[in-house]
Symmetry: C2
């Protein structure tokens, strides 16, 4: 159930919110990022009602974050794969992971799981930086200005 | 209205979702990050119903992202300021900003606003990297493992 649409807004956060505030959506995406592709696997891993899962997957396809691909003929069954647009949202989930890890457990406690590098096994701690300078983003040193070139990504 | 709580989950994304999926919350935080502190200003800038705004601000205080501080005595009025926990969520909103900018406008178009450095005026493009290596996060090179030290942030 969606109460308001922010799509008309000029703000990129508002457009992302319009999608992420759909209940369950970030967790469906988390599953996709960790390799889940089939309806029954999403359902089992998330313990989510079928109708809700079906609605979330359909919307993620409509918005171009997932695409449906047949993996079986008779009967036809589909799996759900991330598109480039969907894969790009990993940065948002990674930032959520870091913030949740740092701030959403009581003092002296933390999650029993961590992100780790497949290559080295080292813990990966996501952090947001400016692409040009590599420096941490400090909200106090940033303002919202006009986009010098809104026609280029 | 909240339908399910994910707080019991072990996943940091689930805990962040529990907060961010509250409708309007990311936009209330965006306002706080851009300097809005007073109820009437949040209301005017967001065009949000009073009761909804009041509920969102109360929850953000309860969760420790905002704190209420009196700015006037008679009658007593409060303003809402970001805590360290709230300020840390900027990384998540910055990642949402980038993804929204890159993917939520039609091809050849983009938002008319951009983040820019107060010091240099240069456009700031948030990107998520591994804190230890400074490298971009690629979901395919990361897995979820056990946290070697869940008692340290």
């Amino acid at each position: 159930m969606r109460r308001t649409r922010f799509d008309a807004d000029h703000c990129p956060i508002a457009r992302a919110t319009d999608l992420l505030a759909d209940w369950w959506t970030p967790l469906v995406l988390r599953e996709a990022f960790t390799g889940t592709r089939r309806f029954a696997d999403f359902e089992a891993n998330l313990d989510i009602p079928k109708a809700v899962l079906s609605a979330r997957l359909s919307r993620l396809c409509d918005e171009g974050l997932l695409r449906r691909e047949p993996y079986q003929d008779n009967p036809v069954r589909h799996e759900y794969r991330l598109t480039d647009k969907g894969r790009a949202l990993w940065d948002v989930l990674a930032a959520m992971w870091r913030w949740g890890t740092d701030w959403c457990w009581p003092a002296g406690e933390g999650p029993v799981i961590a992100l780790e590098s497949r290559a080295t096994g080292q813990v990966v701690r996501p952090v947001v930086v400016d692409e040009a300078t590599g420096e941490r983003l400090d909200i106090r040193s940033i303002r919202i200005g006009s986009n010098p070139n809104p026609h280029v990504r």
